[in-house]
Amino acid sequence: MSKPPSSPAGTPAPPANAMGRRSFLRTSAVVTTGLAALAASVKPLLEMNDLPTMQQFLQKYYKEMTPEDMAKVLKRIEDEVEKQYGLRPHVRDLKPMDGVEFVYCLNLTRCIGCRKCVHACVAENNESRDPEIQYIRVLRLPDGSLDIDKADHFYAPDAVPEKGFFYMPVQCQQCENPPCVKVCPVHATWQDADGITVIDYDWCIGCRYCEAACPYWARRFNFTKPSIPKERLNPDMAYLGNRPRRQGVMEKCHFCIQRTRAGRYPACVEVCPAGARKFGNILDPDSEVSYILKSKRVFIQLKSEMGTKPRFFYYFDV
């Protein structure tokens, strides 16, 4: 090892590992910049103001919950909604009925493309208004074609229906063979006995695999915290249905579970001014959907070649 050179003035030389002014400034600049970059990169975390509560975090899986657990969860949800919206909701956990399998039929001859169903759905299911989330997309197609590539769902004429077009509303098809259920890594979505594919919003991790798997673009993701005006909140809620969702979870049409599992028609059926939407129990031979599937000569399942077997049928008046 060579001896360190002595200073010309004869003062003792600083030790080799001592920090000089330059190296101090350089290191400070690097450290400051590094910290600034780190702070900037974690900045989005500050915007996450919709984090789950501890109770919600420790909640059991839906299918493993006892009735007592569920009662506690429902009370927690009611408390949370009341705190946020100033209105005490009525949240229920409605189970599928025995001997019931829901089927939806939509008469393409009758649909006039007024989008009343879209807005009734938003109002009934507490969907976010800003950014607007809508479960139903109404496609406008030129007459004589069922080519989805020619569809437009941003149509905005002065009046509907327009000459030369027909309209095809698309929403969750409640498939018998749902690809979205297969891809969910945490089993947060599943198909119930009455055919409705449901989502447990408290179990969803927001990976969006289901959104990618769905061939109908029926699933919606809450990129931001949903915003619903207080006076527009629908207080009749279901756990697997229209209770308010948080940021970062998926949602989709559930055939208005809070209504249909209580025996009522979905909101989109009730609101349709043309009577184009029909809903019922396919296991009941007297139901209108049984009649339609038996007697109407033409009906299609959208993208049936995908093997998803939708429970949503489109038909035409012959």
């Binding site: 009925m97 905005a156 609101v271």
Partner: protein, 456 residues
């Protein structure tokens, strides 16, 4: 370049790169949300989902006032009304049937004057701009300074009425222009009348219809006496006696010569629209609301349409069914209903009592007895269900239908009713339910559309 210098340069470059990234993150540059084009709102008057129109059959069932439908107030019962045709062989409708074309004070809703004035003041649409320009300066000043108070409202109402009625009667200047009505959803009747290029009284009538279409919330459609001719798009079914019996206008007559009452109008419709009638019988035609599960649909709170009237009928036991329901009530329930006075505070207990007893009756075996239901007009669906025989599985559905038939004006029916319920030109127009609390949806949407246009 020495190793130290290289290291220094690399660190400096990395620092610079991180600094740029930090600035980019903090300023959100390149990360702003891209706005998708807004999905246009075509027709958003969707919140009123209830079918609250009353058909003629409902009115008959309820024993309501049918004087509006009494043809023989004006016509001679012994001879059919003479038909007059114009040059195109279209029937000329008597002026008495066309109804008043001028607006009266009652036509502006009690709480709607403010909204109407606001629309005029703000020139919120081309029609409002037109109305505003038709006002004199002093009238404009009065409306500009309008604030809801008794005196001010009276003046404003008079000004608005005179402005609207002037537009209606002013035949020299056509009210309809495509640009003016771009954003207005015109009714079927308006379009039909417009195609006929009307003049005189018919033009005044058209102007009123246009104003009603432009202000669907603010102005009421008071056209009880209207008769819409030209049933169907082909224009061939344009004769009163295609559907009415020539010698008795209160009877309907399909092509096979049967006489039908108005309550059976569905069968008349079915005589021409066979496949539609078949679909309708199966529940596959027309608007529907209520319960898909017809077997287990108890009455809910929002299905009691008129609680005071129902409580009154029950406590007075005005008919055998009311008497039967009264017997099913507990003693405290009877006391509660007998002392019931409509007010916000005591409606809930009375409503609960009524719901409890009605839903208890639904759960029992069939309540039908000929004596009990004597004089009550049963709906075709009830009658056909009864023909199937008393089966336990259908008793709940049958009982509900029977109760609906017995109290047609007091309870909401959850099934579709008859053709005239949707296709009846005499029926009051939608919406007839109270608007939801909060700002009116149509206004809210108008504001939203405005802000979107401003943003563009």
């Amino acid at each position: 370049m020495t190793t130290n210098a290289k290291t220094g340069l690399t660190v400096a470059l990395l620092c610079a790169a991180f600094s740029v990234l930090a600035v980019a993150f903090l300023s959100d540059s390149g990360g702003a949300r891209r706005n998708r084009p807004a999905i246009a709102l075509v027709d958003t008057n969707f919140l009123d989902t209830s079918t609250t129109r009353k058909s003629y059959a409902d009115l008959v069932r309820a024993g309501a006032d049918l004087s509006d439908f009494d043809c023989y107030v004006c016509h001679d019962k012994k001879s059919p009304p003479p038909l007059r045709f114009d040059a195109n062989l279209n029937i000329i409708v008597a002026e008495e049937h066309i109804g008043p074309s001028q607006f009266s004070e009652d036509d502006i809703g009690a709480n709607e004057l403010e909204g109407l004035v606001e629309r005029f003041r703000r020139h919120s649409d081309p029609v409002s701009t037109f109305v505003w320009q038709s006002l004199s300066n002093s009238q404009q000043l009065l409306l500009t300074n309008y604030k809801p108070s008794e005196q001010s409202s009276k003046q404003a109402r008079e000004i608005v009425l005179s402005a609207l009625n002037n537009i209606i009667t002013n035949a020299a200047q056509p009210f309809y222009e495509p640009g003016r009505f771009n954003e207005v959803l015109l009714g079927a009747e308006t379009m039909l009348l417009m195609q006929q290029n009307p003049t005189g009284c018919a033009l005044a009538h058209l102007n009123r219809l246009l104003l009603e279409d432009a202000y669907p919330v603010e102005l009421s459609r008071n056209r009880q006496n209207d008769i819409v001719m030209g049933h169907g798009k082909h224009g061939r079914n344009n004769n009163c006696f295609n559907c009415h019996n020539e010698t008795n206008l209160t009877l309907l007559q399909p092509r096979d010569g049967r006489d039908l009452t108005f309550a059976d109008s569905t069968q008349l419709c079915g005589s021409c629209h066979g496949p539609t009638y078949r679909d309708w019988l199966a529940g596959a035609h027309g608007r529907i609301s209520g319960y898909w599960d017809r077997g287990s649909s108890p009455f809910s709170e929002d299905e009691i349409r008129d609680l005071p009237k129902l409580a009154d009928r029950l406590s007075h036991q005005s008919d055998p069914v009311s008497g039967f329901v009264w017997q099913q009530l507990s003693k405290p329930g009877q006391v509660l209903l007998a002392n019931y006075q409509p007010s916000a505070s005591n409606s809930k207990p009375a409503q609960d009592v009524v719901l409890q007893v009605l839903n208890k009756i639904i759960g029992e075996p069939s309540i039908y007895q000929p004596d009990r239901f004597k004089g009550i007009l049963l709906a075709p669906e009830t009658a056909s269900l009864m023909q199937q025989g008393p089966q336990d599985t259908n008793s709940a559905r049958l009982n509900r239908l029977l109760l609906e038939d017995a109290f047609p004006m007091e309870l909401t029916r959850n099934q579709r009713r008859d053709c005239v319920n949707c296709h009846n030109p005499h029926a009051p127009p939608f919406p007839s339910r109270k608007p939801a609390p909060g700002p009116h949806p149509l206004r809210e949407i108008a504001n939203m559309a405005e802000s979107q246009t401003a943003r563009k």
